[in-house]
């Protein structure tokens, strides 16, 4: 927890709007995300929000609740069920000069919009030599653990990190979610902002048969009510340690931390927060210190973001490594419904990987 609080101090130091920071409120992740959009709509009349059910209803996960009533229905509005259309019109609004924040209701539904993201949003700046940009932030809940079956559980982040021109951000706490979302909205390039829906209401630790603590019991639920940024491309060391480096993001940060606390290994747990651009300095310094590296993500294994991390660590830290880099991931199958917890990379899978990596 001390490490988390330390990170707040770092963030405040980089914050331009420090005056806004005096007031804090206890927020879960949904409320923090809502607050980020509310603050940005207050500050910047060019910010608009759109998506399926985001208007009057406030989103199926309530992330946009109250925003239409406050900011008006030409700035917060429902859309037709067309992800291609949602992303495409966001690109067009960005070309006009707006700063759209479209929501895709589930990451599993983003695929019809992928041509507009990959071929258009990601390349607008490059193909026009900077004459046109796509300053859009596509928010979308992702990840499993809610018995959503194969169409409400996927983690498709590596499809986007593979694309030149897209930034990919994944928060793991309410505090980070707000600061990162504000940075994403202010960023002049397209950002994919994946929200781990399993931890919207509390830091799920992977022990699915135990109750989940609400965010209010976690230090990172003390969220400034005003404007602050967490810079994109900066990881967060959530637990300092000497024996092993664990790289994780989203829900898996909490699962990894819980396993580390349970089995007593002195691991350094790094929450990447931004996959692209990646904070390679923090990763490299940590692995050179510990000599061991475990990568944890919920997404499928093959060609997952862990493969990229593993390659980078090998390239940069090879002579410091005392054991092969390990990956703990979801299995290479669609997300099953009834066997959700057998699929999920939970404490047993992580614990076994730690034991293996520490043995060498």
């Amino acid at each position: 927890m001390a490490e988390v609080m330390q990170d707040y101090a770092t963030s405040e130091a980089t914050n331009e709007g420090a005056a806004d920071q005096t007031a804090t409120k206890t927020m879960n992740m949904i409320e923090a995300i809502n607050s980020a959009m509310d603050v940005m709509m207050d500050r910047d009349p060019d910010v608009v929000i759109m998506g399926e059910d985001v208007g009057y209803f406030g989103g199926v996960f309530r992330c946009t609740a109250g925003l239409q009533a406050k900011h008006g229905k030409t700035r917060v509005f429902d859309t037709p069920i067309s992800e291609c259309g949602i992303v495409g019109v966001a690109v067009g609004m960005g070309a006009y000069g707006l700063r759209p924040v479209p929501e895709i209701q589930f990451a599993d539904y983003i695929y019809p919009g992928i041509d507009q993201l990959i071929s258009e949003a990601a390349r607008l700046r490059y193909r026009s030599a900077g004459e046109f940009i796509a300053p859009i932030t596509v928010r979308s809940p992702f990840g499993g653990g809610i018995f959503g079956g194969q169409t409400h559980s996927q983690s498709p982040e590596s499809l986007f990190t593979h694309v030149s021109g897209l930034k990919t951000v994944i928060p793991s706490t309410p505090y980070d979610a707000k600061g990162l979302l504000i940075s994403a909205i202010e960023d002049n390039d397209p950002v994919i902002f994946f929200e781990p829906k399993r931890i919207y209401n509390g830091p799920f630790t992977g022990y699915y048969d135990r109750p989940v603590e609400p965010w209010s019991k976690h230090a990172a639920s003390k969220v400034p009510t005003g404007h602050y940024r967490i810079p994109l491309g900066k990881a967060n060391i959530v637990r300092a340690g000497e024996a092993l480096t664990i790289l994780a993001y989203g829900t898996m940060v909490h699962v990894a931390q819980a396993v580390v606390e349970a089995n007593g290994v002195d691991a350094e747990v790094i929450d990447l927060r931004t996959l692209l651009p990646l904070d390679i300095e923090t990763i490299e310094a940590s692995v050179k210190k510990t000599g061991r590296c475990l990568i944890v993500h919920e997404a499928t294994r093959t060609s997952g973001f862990g493969a990229e991390l593993s390659a980078l660590v090998q390239e940069r830290c090879f002579y410091h490594l005392e054991a092969p880099v390990e990956r703990v991931t979801g299995f290479d199958t669609p997300y099953p419904h009834s066997l959700e917890w057998a699929y999920f990379p939970g404490p047993i899978r992580i614990g076994r990987a730690i034991a293996k990596i520490m043995k060498d």
Partner: protein
């Protein structure tokens, strides 16, 4: 707050954002819903050119009149046993929905979706097709399986993701797959089944088969590109397809205006593609039957595809994850001007003298007991989350026809993890 030059002599542009008729607490006003007389629409020959039947995309095909009589050119003149079978199947669908909805509330599964108020759009449509015509449903056409006689216990096993689920517990509840009843595997993504149905129909035509294909989506999903791709292919290849749009007014919290209903009808989408379009009272089982029969005959005689808009109302929430009282007036359902499809067919049968309230009440009791018995039977195979799931290794099957090395390794890993968690 335009960034560009504002010309003071020109009117500023204004964005239109649709608003539904009523929100929670508002009085309901359906006065804009035009309900034409039951016999007002002409019934053209099935071979008619789409250009000569445009009025059918804007009117409303209805058969049952206010006195519960079947009237007009679209009356399918069905035998009494067909009427009673449709009535029973729709009542069974509703009884099934009621019980499985409660099962979800009791924690026996993760999710359920009712089709209350929309039973006719699947049951009567299935009744008007051949049993081996291929259907590509969305997630609210359980009535097709009921009509085709699928075992209730099989449906409930799937809903419980239990040991008896032939889909191995992989799919979200109600995402059935029943090839033996020509029922395609349901996707959780929207409108993806639309071009697939057209492709199946094209294949049937390539092979000189006699079977046609039919698909369903909601009015909200007509916004997806898949819908428009399907319409284009259906038009280009004159594919023997019935394309059903169930316009139940609501896509979760978004009313039909967010799919374009403020501008035109969904049936009229057909006109731009040069496809036959029919707009039908979806709460009138006889009208749904008659329109489907017309479209099936047209498709089967190589005259081409038909888009049918079923004008109906989603009487309950989108799913068990939804609370419609948060975004629409609670009275809407009761005041829907086209009534309830089961009630209307029941009244028609009573008016014909082949049915009465006592028999109907007895049937409802019998169906409720039948569903209850099927539920008990399925529960022997377990309910979700109580250990009665499929074996771990099944998770890795069917990703491919054969198991590649990496999945073999992952399967072994999953079994080791199980042994570590439950050492026995």
């Amino acid at each position: 707050m335009a960034d560009g030059p504002l010309r003071s002599n020109l009117q500023p542009l204004a964005l239109h954002v649709p608003e539904p008729r009523s929100r929670p607490g508002d009085p309901v006003d359906f006065s804009d819903v035009i309900v034409p007389a039951a016999d007002s629409m002409a019934r053209p020959d099935e071979a008619v050119s789409p250009h000569d039947m445009r009025d059918l995309s804007f009117g409303l095909v209805r058969v049952l009149d206010d006195e519960h009589r079947a009237v007009g050119a679209w009356d399918p003149r069905l035998p009494h046993e067909t009427l009673l079978k449709m009535l029973r199947t729709m009542a069974l669908t509703r009884a099934f929905d009621e019980r499985l909805y409660r099962a979800q509330r009791q924690g026996k599964t993760s999710f359920y979706m009712k089709c209350t108020g929309e039973e006719a759009t699947s049951v009567a449509a299935a009744a008007a097709m051949q049993g081996d015509d291929m259907v590509f449903p969305s997630y609210r056409q359980q009535g097709i399986l009921m009509w085709r006689g699928y075992a209730l216990t099989e449906m409930i096993n799937q809903i419980y993701s239990n040991r008896g689920d032939k889909l191995k517990g992989r799919q979200l509840p109600i995402m059935y797959s029943v090839p033996e009843l020509s029922f395609f595997t349901i996707s959780g993504n929207l409108a993806t089944q639309y071009p697939q149905a057209v492709g199946w129909a094209m294949a049937s035509a390539i092979k000189g088969d006699t079977r046609i294909a039919s698909c369903w989506c909601g009015e909200g999903s007509t916004a997806e590109g898949d819908f428009h791709s399907a319409m284009t292919f259906a038009s280009v290849y004159n594919a023997p397809t019935i394309l059903n749009v169930v316009n139940n007014q609501w896509a979760i919290s978004s009313f039909s205006g967010f799919a374009g209903a403020e501008r035109t009808t969904f049936a009229a989408r057909a006109i731009g593609y040069g496809i036959a379009g029919l707009r039908v009272d979806g709460n009138d089982a006889l009208a749904v039957y008659a329109a489907t029969q017309w479209a099936a005959e047209r498709a089967r005689s190589n005259k081409g595809p038909t888009l049918i808009e079923h004008f109906t109302y989603r009487a309950e929430g989108h799913s068990t994850s939804d609370d419609p009282s948060a975004y629409r007036s609670a009275q809407e359902s009761a005041e829907w001007p086209l009534g309830d499809p089961i009630h209307r067919l029941k009244q028609h049968c009573i008016a014909l003298g082949i049915w009465d309230d006592e028999r109907h009440a007895a049937m409802d009791l019998e169906l409720a007991e039948m569903v209850k018995a099927a539920t008990k039977e399925a529960e022997k195979n377990g309910v979700l989350g109580h250990g009665m799931h499929q074996p771990f290794e099944t998770m890795f099957e069917d990703v491919f026809e054969e198991l590649p090395w990496h999945l073999q390794e992952q399967m072994a890993q999953a079994l080791e993890e199980r042994a570590a968690k439950w050492p026995k």
